[in-house]
Amino acid sequence: MSNEPTKVDAKGYWSATVKLTISLLVIWFAVSYGAGVLLRDVLDNVSIGGAPLGFWFAQQGAIYVFVALIFYYCFAMNKIERKYGVKG
């Protein structure tokens, strides 16, 4: 397994990837299970437009954040890949 032309720091790459993954999953959890389910009653006291905020997160907001999360993940992974010499 050593026919790579450049030195790849696989260990560093993997730990950076795992760290990024965990922090994004925290946000994923917070906007769906958090805002949309567990904290809904609290958030529903606030309104966004004409919708209670918790309800809105469960039916709209979480989905928008999910899309943003994946694209941010792509962006951050490209950066990690450059940093550790991994060619994606």
């Binding site: 696989a10 004409g50 899309v67 994606g88």
Partner: protein
Amino acid sequence: MDWTIFFVVASFGTYIGIALWARAGSTNDFYVAGHDVHPMINGMATAADWMSAASFLSMAGLIASLGYGGSVYLMGWTGGYVLLALLLAPFLREFGKFTVPDFVGDRYYSTAARVIAVICALFVSFTYIAGQMSGVGIAFSRFLGVDFNTGILVGMGIVFVYAVLGGMKGVTYTQVAQYCVLIFAYTVPAIFISMMITGNPVPQLGFISNVRGEDVSMLENLNQVVTELGFIEYTSTNKSWIDVFAITGALMFGTAGLPHVIIRFFTVSSASAARVSAGWALVFIALLYTVAPAVGAFARYNIIDTVNETTYIETDDYAVAAEGITSDGGTPVPEWFKNWERTGLVGFEDMNGDGLMQIRGPNAPDGLANEVTINNDISVLASPEIAQLPEWVIGLMVAGGLAAALSTAAGLLMVISSAISHDLCRRTLFKGMSDKTELRIARVAAAGAVAAAGLMGMNTAKLAFVAQVVAFAFGLAAASLFPIIFLGIFWKRMNKEGAIASMAFGLISTFSYIYYFKFVDTDPSHWFLGVSPEGIGFVFMFFSAIIGIVVSLLTAPPPQEIQDLVEDIRVPGTRTRHGSVDEDMGPMDDHTPTPAE
């Protein structure tokens, strides 16, 4: 009627044309469309693959009747893509083979594991596909005046042409066309209806806007309307939070574990393309999924508004009777209701004998009984009629519903045929089979699966039954497939024994629980931890992961080459370089990519 025929014929013609253009020449084309689909194109195809007759026809209706409770579908069926993008898709693409059982069989160096994964994949896909076929039958029987079973036969014929001839390549490009049809069909009526109710043409904004010309928000108004009739508030639910949590989880993890979704990510060129592609897929899915709650709320509003307290018409001569009622100062039952009554999906029984149609919830303040039954599934298909939109919108809607059903059916057929021809025949029973033979078997298997799916569709005439069965698909994918794929990537120590124990537990426990509480004991108070059959896959997923980990730790670690394989799939670029010498790769070696591809 004419518009409907026009849209259906035009869209079907397009699909066939694309299928003839994109014929598969090798197993590589047939299973993974040559591994070179553009990430955005794959994202669009994934969205069509994913959004089924249930998403298109049933989901908004479910949301309309469940209100906040319907959020489980919205969060569950989109949040799964985050898991897919972060935890599975890039690594499975880096692994670089054809099917989910392929990964399981190689990662766990075991034929038994491969065969169990084949069983899971087949079970999940067959339960799912029956629903698509009966969706096709419903669309045909209501709108084209064709018999339900004939409708299914026509649908089978179309899918046969592009799935059997074109394989994944044909399926990919027809799915792109089907996505365009279905998203257009879903959004156009939603825009019209949003304009009518709120004055805002963007349904996502109309959803949070005020009722047109009034100083009260649409949702607040809806809450008021439904509570006055004795329903619970639209923005609340009577499900326990634990159940909402578990169902959302089962749908999310189930989505990420569904084989027909995962295999779409084998068609792109690299791990990073798989990540981007998952993002695009979710963008295209979100276009429909953020409109759906608006469609649901508007439908609930419109149905109550047009039906409640109107005078029922018994006779077939609608126009004359309606005129009579209007001239007496009453409001006649809307014509769409009479149209749909023939399908049995809506019904009226005059409990108090006053000739008026009362819609009431379980706690109606005036003590009246509910007299009107409306099947959730019509909320979308009937919404253009309810809102009195022009006839071409209805035709468009039908073509969209068919596109959603057919594209998902085709994706599932690919899973079924590759599980049989590749995993069962080539990798298990007849090792050393040639690429040509395998391709032939794949086509025969796809043809057989089309026939089987059609027959299943004919025997499940009601979508409501299908919705029940789909609970099986997600629960099983979450509890049996997700844990072992995830652990297979993120935990090197996971071994064959652990994987088999985990899959077997997930499959048996989830299947038994759902079967028992759906068909034997339907009393919710007996549920384990208060979790419904729809959500149980989420709970058993954790058990199945724990069992896998414990069994792995008690048995010997996986061989060194497997641990190396795991290291390789974690880092993009390494596997494709090493993996090409794997003697089992078979078809991949036959494929010599031309530089211009």
